[in-house]
């Protein structure tokens, strides 16, 4: 049997050698989920016996020599905004209570085609709106490193489930940092691929032009395995990129000789950033420099416009995307309504939480006649400028290194009544979503007993390089092998 913190590569090898079965892996994950659930609240829907049955089928395939892929028989957790046939999907919202999907998300199809076992769905901020997994009908999720602290968000449950050793891999969605920030807070590796690299078919939309599915794992090598399983063109998503998927795992040679790393001066300058965090990030960059990479300073001058532009665009799209939750066809419908107008008003008032309502109202406002040009259109122009910033920076370097978040995991409740301060915690992550480029957060040490994340950003479709650099870093350091003491 393997350790609870065994990564996907290790699990693959254990299954291949026969030192453990898929059923044992899945049983161990279910047991660990049960044992930690009260403390963490990371996984909100467990597939239980259905996951065990899937594991038995994987073992049967293996016994008959028909292994589907490296991930055949490995347990994976979804985020609760990815639909799976016959399973509940709530997006942590009252309005979707009782909903189960008649079809599979593309990522679910691909995981199943690879033989991976879907263990269940992870806690999240309602409709992925939030940075702390506190906006959720399932109750807040807790950080395995300090249960009084947030695991980040919105994919906090996915990050915590890997961090606490429940599973070796989980999926999340990242609209403004919702994979990378919780990965940073929970000390795991979080990858947000290029916009369009992973199909959004079956991902409940928050902000369509920004949403991207990605991975939580213990290492970059594991992320490579998981990404090559779920990535690739899907004709059901018009924004999906029709480019073949490289075998990312095969490109992990540990070599960063000659690589140029850009450090955007604006990211190391932002006041309010925790100096200890910046210190850890600089040390991480220094490790890569020692391995042969070259470090240059670059500039991303429009960074400070990123957060405002992001919240205008994301909320505008959300106000439209969430219009379908109206109580008419599925989900929660208010009772005792007199007419359809009242059905809308009451179902939505009762069904959505405060943060979702706030964003729907903001988004509706910025799209309104008379305000569109001043807000939405202006934000789209900023988006173009941010892309230009990145293009200019990537003409001088191969990857950009930054802190993932200006701080380590904050206390639960600390920011829940201060939305602007909550929004500002996305300051280092939103630009990548606005520009559509890939980013990865890797653990680069602890400060005050809490993990710090080093973010690497790359050019469009340059996930291979990001994974190679992150893997090279992890070959030389052991930050990613340090686990939360309470669960280790």
């Amino acid at each position: 049997m393997v350790d609870a913190f065994a990564g996907l590569v290790e699990q693959r090898d254990a299954l291949a050698s026969g030192s453990c079965s898929s059923r044992e892996l899945v049983d161990a994950a279910l047991e660990r989920h049960a044992a930690t659930h009260v403390r963490l609240n990371a996984v909100v829907h467990s597939r239980g016996e259905r996951a065990q049955r899937d594991a038995d089928e994987a073992d049967a395939r293996r016994a008959s020599g028909k292994v589907l892929s490296a991930l055949d028989g490995v347990a994976i957790v979804l985020k609760d905004n990815m639909v799976m046939r016959g399973e509940p999907t709530t997006c942590s919202s009252r309005i979707l209570e009782g909903y189960s999907s008649p079809f599979d998300a593309c990522v679910v199809e691909r995981l199943q085609a690879a033989g991976a076992v879907v263990l269940g769905a992870a806690n999240m901020d309602e409709f992925a709106m939030g940075s702390s997994t506190e906006n959720t009908i399932h109750g807040v999720a807790h950080n395995p490193w300090d249960l009084e602290r947030t695991c980040g968000g919105s994919s906090g449950g996915s990050a915590a489930s890997v961090s606490a050793g429940i599973v070796g891999g989980a999926l999340g969605s990242d609209t403004g940092g919702s994979i990378r920030q919780p990965a940073s807070f929970c000390g795991v590796t979080g990858l947000k691929p290029t916009y369009g690299r992973v199909s959004r078919w079956g991902l409940v939309a928050f902000a369509s032009s920004l949403d991207q599915i990605g991975t939580f794992t213990h290492s970059a090598a594991d992320a490579a395995l998981l990404l090559e399983t779920i990535a690739g063109h899907d004709p059901r998503d018009s924004t999906s990129i029709p480019e073949p998927v490289p075998q990312y795992s095969e490109g992990l040679d540990g070599d960063v000789e000659g690589l140029t790393i850009g450090l955007p001066k604006e990211y190391f300058d932002v006041s309010g950033g925790d100096p200890e965090v910046l210190e850890r990030v600089r040390a991480g960059v220094a490790d890569l420099e020692a391995a042969g990479a070259k470090v240059v300073e670059v500039s991303l001058p429009r960074t400070r416009y990123g957060v405002p532009a992001y919240y205008l665009i994301a909320n505008a799209e959300a106000s439209s995307n969430l219009a379908r939750f109206d109580g008419a066809r599925y989900g929660r419908r208010a009772e005792g309504v007199a007419d359809y107008q009242q059905m809308y008003e009451r179902s939505r008032s009762e069904g959505f939480g405060d943060e979702v309502k706030r964003r729907i109202m903001l988004g509706t406002y910025v799209l309104s006649a008379g305000y569109f040009d001043a807000y939405y259109k202006k934000a789209q122009q900023v988006r173009t400028l941010l892309r230009d910033d990145f293009d200019a920076a990537f003409s001088q370097c191969d990857v950009i290194a930054t802190p993932t978040s200006p701080e380590t995991a904050f206390a639960l409740g600390e920011k829940i009544d201060d939305p602007v301060s909550m929004y500002l915690s996305d300051i280092y992550t939103v630009s990548a979503n606005l520009a559509g480029i890939p980013g990865i957060s890797v653990p680069c040490g602890l400060t005050g007993g809490l993990p710090v994340g080093l973010q690497l950003l790359g050019r469009v479709l340059d996930e291979g390089r990001l994974l190679r650099v992150a893997d090279a870093y992890q070959r030389r350091t052991d930050h990613h092998l340090v686990h939360p003491p309470e669960f280790a």
Partner: protein, 504 residues
């Protein structure tokens, strides 16, 4: 814009009309989902998770609509834009599952085109085009502002038969592809509006873009109407929604013109509003004032990418485009020496024009083939939506019939009797003629004999004829026709009678 025409003024006002036509595209599946497009099925059967707006679905453009939009663009002399963009039009309604309609807003696929309609010239007697060689008819060009692709909504049925106030929703129509074709405010009367709609529908059917069946809701019209004093700025307009027959379009526009004229004559102002037309009362009434209109919060749909159309795409469609009604009309005038008015009528429908040409190949007398179609065939088709294909008539049997009449073997009257049979149940005109003994009497000796008998037994009439009363000849002809059971050719009878009368 041209000067206001005296004869088109209503109580001294110039009528200004622009039309928005929604036409269903002829596709197998919906605009953004694989669900089938079909009419008359059980409610909510032709739906896919995309049409139901289930969580996690995404739209994918049905590529077959691109060709249809290009065809319409070419047929209306429009610009087919290299880039067009799908936007979201946001509003809440039970038959709109997503809470937004995907449409085109700032960048439509087709823009800046025109089509021509025939209008009375307004000079001389107001006889219209029916009379003579079409001298009183002129072509008027109507601008087409744009034609954009969008999805239809479902149907909400606010069920009065239910004891409750439930609203029932049928989503079979949700997502059916539409082209919305918006005209410039170039129309000056209800009659012009009707002519425009008929022309547009003929074009849509010709080029296979839409079946445009009004009864199935495949061709719907909103009319924007305003009045102004000749030469003045455009007046405030109102929009009459959901007109689904030609008769309603004309009646609704006339009713709205009358209403606005009264408002203006009273010294009041027309208020911008959406109107409904009630065919039962013949009146328009305010549905919604502009100030209460929805703010649709249009923005580009981030789930879709811009639609790009290349020159090569357009050329490929152009190569396949059938001859258009106007071109066919001009060719019929040149090739078959038909009048413009007859050629226009024959080319209203592609099937009818084809029937004419097929029959003319067999019986090379275009004028008489055309006359028979314009008189008898059109009467069979009636005012309804019947098509030539609905008749049992074939070009072969029809051409044979016209040939029999032209050769004198059938009188026009007998020909019409046989035509009725062919139209209803088909058959061979020659055989029917023989069976019914309708072949005309061609034996001049026989007619001469009868004529002499008629002259001998009607001396009074003969006297009157000699005194110069020409009308008596008709009576005598009638007697001869009667004696020959109507099978003699009237022209022959007349000629023989005159000769015999002169000989005596």
């Amino acid at each position: 814009m041209s000067e206001a025409r005296e004869d088109q003024l209503y109580m001294g006002y110039e009528v200004v009309i622009g039309l928005e036509v929604h036409t269903h595209l002829r596709t197998q599946s919906k605009l953004f989902s694989p669900a089938p497009v079909a009419y008359g099925d059980e409610p909510n059967h032709n739906t896919h998770p995309v049409d139901l707006a289930l969580p996690g679905v995404l739209p994918v453009l049905n590529r077959s609509v691109i060709e249809l939009a290009i065809r319409l663009g070419l047929a209306t002399h429009s610009t087919i834009n290299e880039r067009s963009v799908f936007s979201r039009k946001n509003y809440f309604y039970p038959d709109l599952p997503k809470g937004y309609q995907i449409s085109q807003f700032e960048e439509p696929t087709v823009s800046d085109g025109w089509l021509e309609i025939e209008v009375a010239s307004g000079k001389g007697k107001k006889k219209g085009k029916k009379k003579g060689g079409g001298a009183e008819v002129v072509q008027k060009r109507i601008g087409i502002t744009r034609a954009h692709l969008e999805e239809d909504a479902g149907k909400s049925i606010h069920d009065a038969t239910h004891a409750t106030t439930d609203t029932l929703v049928d989503l079979n129509r949700a997502g059916v592809p539409l082209l919305e074709i918006v005209s410039e405010p170039d129309l000056r009367s209800a009659a012009e509006a009707s002519a425009y709609l008929k022309k547009l529908r003929a074009i849509l059917r010709y080029i296979g873009v839409s079946d445009a069946d009004m009864e199935k809701g495949q061709f719907r019209c909103d009319a924007n109407v305003s009045l102004r004093r000749p030469g003045a700025e455009l007046g405030t307009r109102t929009e009459i929604k959901n007109l689904n027959s030609f008769a309603f379009v004309e009646a609704a526009i006339n009713a709205e013109v009358e209403r606005q004229a009264e408002v203006l004559d009273d010294g009041d102002e027309v208020v911008q509003a959406t109107m409904a037309f009630d065919p039962a009362t013949g009146h328009t009434s305010v549905m919604r004032l502009k100030e209460n209109a929805d703010d649709y919060r249009y923005f580009d749909d981030p789930d879709l990418v811009p639609l790009m159309i290349s020159e090569a795409d357009i050329e490929a469609v152009q190569a396949q485009l059938p001859e258009l009604p106007d071109d066919k009309r001009d060719r019929f005038v040149a090739e078959y020496a038909l009048s413009e008015s007859d050629a226009t009528t024959l080319t209203q429908s592609r099937a009818l024009a084809q029937f004419f040409e097929d029959a003319t190949v067999i019986h090379a007398q275009p004028k008489s083939v055309a006359n028979w179609i314009l008189r008898d065939v059109l009467q069979s088709l009636g005012e309804g939506d019947r098509s030539i294909e609905d008749l049992a008539l074939t070009p072969e049997s029809f051409a044979a019939l016209v040939a029999l009449v032209d050769s004198g073997r059938l009188t026009a009257k007998s020909g019409r009797e046989i035509y009725g049979v062919l139209a209803e149940s088909g058959g061979d005109p020659e055989a029917i003629m023989a069976e019914r003994g309708l072949e005309s009497v061609q034996d001049t000796g026989l007619i001469e004999g009868v004529a002499r008998e008629v002259i001998a037994s009607n001396p009074d009439s003969v006297d009157k004829y000699r005194e110069g009363d020409g009308k008596v000849l008709n009576f005598l002809m009638g007697q001869v026709m009667k004696a020959t059971q109507g099978k003699a050719n009237p022209a022959d009878v007349k000629q023989i009678l005159e000769r015999e009368l002169a000989a005596q």
